[in-house]
Amino acid sequence: MKLHEYQSKLIFAKYGIPIPKGRVAATAQEARHIAEELGGRVVIKSQVLVGGRGKAGGIKLAKNPEEAEQLATQILEMEIKSLPVRKVLVDEAAAIESEIYFSITNDRAKKKPVMIASSAGGIEIEEVAAQTPEKIIQIHIDPLLGLRDYQARDLAASIDLPRDHWKEFGRIAQALWQIYHETDATLAEINPLVITKEKKLLALDGKMIIDDNALFRHPDLAEMRDLDEEAPEETTARKYGLSYIKLDGNIGCMVNGAGLAMTSMDIVKLFGGEPANFLDIGGGASHEKVAAAMRIILSDPNVRAILLNIFGGITRCDEVARGILAAMDEVKPKIPMVVRLVGTNAEEGRKLLADAKMITAETLADAAKKAVAAVGKTASTRIPVMQESVVPVGAPPAKNHQKNRSVR
């Protein structure tokens, strides 16, 4: 779960990392009030959960409260990568002397947290990493021991941080480690961490991602989730423990297991079709879950056929079959459905579905071919079931919305 910049920085401040004075605003008037309180120049920063805000014009400097209001109005009317801006952060402008990149994240290859820093901080850091990797320093942290002070010092020395700042950098590093560890973050990033003209360290921007699997122990963080920032069908999917990502094709896929779901998509494509989504119903899917999954797939108006591929293991095919029947009973889809059930209780599942009007398949390739063929044949428009009840007014058009999401 991604946190907004302003949420991340509030957490930073709680752990003692210095951040600029500032507050979040939902309206231009609020932004003006904050600018008045702060006095002097302020930065107006769009709060959206995508990168590249600056390049898109979502970050502006205002010389006075009037200009702050003006710019906030502009920014609050923007869409950045299809995401409408709903909030701006109004921060005191800092006098920057130099910019440092600093983060802690997981290194899956080394099975350890890694602390990353560079003297070449700022928005071009990825280019720095690609062009001059020697400017990026990585220090791994023993997960049982935690960050040692000497490691923070080594990092400071390695990025040639002036010695006057070592102690403060050490405190910030320990705070960032505590944040990373105590919030179950998979990323805690400060970019840039600036040295100001007043020779202070200041976290100008912050980004945090929390491990979804660990949210059960962080109810306070779970509440920070910004539902405005994700597609409504993804919200519904999460509620039911499903994993759903919308794509641009017309064959809806419902599969158990991420690997098999991806494989099903791959085969649809291999035989000339286009998958409309990734949808993993997970292990041990109950029939409520299956029904929810079907409603989500059908909420996409592009879908012309559904491919159901269930290989029973933890998931029992009879339970899935019951879910399919319940969902069909409720939503009465008018498009072709290709079903393939194999594995645990497959026989019982197939029996349950015997009377429903469905296309059955034996192998995965066979199922994909039949789904592709079905789309070719069907020309009937169908009622976009559930869509009205799922998509709130003012939500972004679903189509391009989550293009850069992935299955992992």
Binding site: A129, L247, M262, M265, I267, L270, R408
Partner: protein, 287 residues
């Protein structure tokens, strides 16, 4: 012969009284696996599955009483790390964690601790192990695979079943199938299993099933090129998946642009591995 599990494997089920634990314990027993005991704290002294399997309050007690040598974990995600620590401290040499959704920082601690203690972990978020005709430890449906000379190793769950099923339909069998799980931090990896298969006399050919994300397949490719004499066929899922979610700048720095299916396929091909376009093509490439 086979690897990791065989007819002498004596299994302890951690979380045996839960829905999944109970269902799959029964499936394992039906398959012929020696399920010797279960653990559910607070339910020690009970007997489950028709009074055949004793339940203990702790792994230590279960081990003392029944001499198990493998543990399979079905406890909920929030208790999974503790279950792995418990099994490790009790001296279980092989732990198979089926549970999905274990927090990644828990897994980093577990993995680093287990490495110290030289304990082998398979998983988490994995379907477990199957040596057809001998023993099944986990949730792989037993009826879809027959015994043979193909070693199967996979990061995936149900996709693994798909492959076993395709092999069986083609009249081929598996020596052992190892589902290593797809979590970012897990125990046994591709290389560990490839090494075991290379030294297993029963295994003649190997199937490797990978996914997008991470660099495990790339490192497996290097290992295959340098160490393996047995032929390998691979399938990589996720060729049509959109590019991965980036973990901020840090993800880009740590993993670079690696992790796409195309990259992995390229790496494996240069290691001499044949790549299947879809799972049902695997038996053809094995011939």
């Amino acid at each position: 012969m086979s690897i990791l599990v065989n007819r002498n494997t004596r299994v302890l089920v951690q979380g045996i009284t839960g829905n999944e634990g109970l269902f799959h314990s029964e499936q394992m027993i039906q398959y012929g696996t020696q399920v010797a005991a279960g653990v559910t704290p607070g339910k020690g002294g009970e007997w489950v599955l028709g009074g055949k399997i004793p339940v203990f309050d702790s792994v230590k007690l279960a081990m003392e009483a029944t001499g198990v040598n493998t543990s399979v974990i079905f406890v909920p995600a929030r208790f999974a790390a503790d279950a792995m620590f418990e099994a490790t401290d009790a001296g279980i040499p092989l732990i198979v964690c089926i549970t999905e959704g274990v927090p990644v920082q828990d897994m980093m601690q577990v993995r680093n601790y287990l490495d110290q203690k030289k304990v082998r972990l398979v998983g988490p978020n994995c379907p477990g192990l199957l040596t057809p005709g001998e023993s099944k430890v986990g949730i792989i449906p037993g009826n879809i695979a027959s015994a043979g000379n193909i070693g199967v190793v996979s990061r995936s769950g149900t996709l693994t079943y798909e492959v076993l099923y395709a092999l069986a339909l083609a009249g081929m069998g598996a020596s052992t199938c190892v589902g290593i799980g797809g979590d970012p931090i897990n125990g046994t990896n591709f290389i560990d299993v490839l090494e075991l298969f290379e030294h297993d006399p029963q295994t003649e050919k190997i199937v490797l099933i990978g996914e997008i994300g991470g660099t495990d397949e790339d490192r497996a490719a290097e290992y295959i090129a340098a160490n393996l004499t047995k032929p390998v066929v691979a399938f990589i899922a996720g060729q049509t998946a959109p590019p991965g979610k980036r973990m901020g700048h840090a993800g880009a720095i740590i993993e670079g642009s690696a992790g796409t299916a195309a990259d992995k396929i390229k790496a494996l091909e240069s290691a001499g591995v044949k790549i299947a376009k879809h799972p049902e093509e695997i038996p053809l490439l094995l011939k």
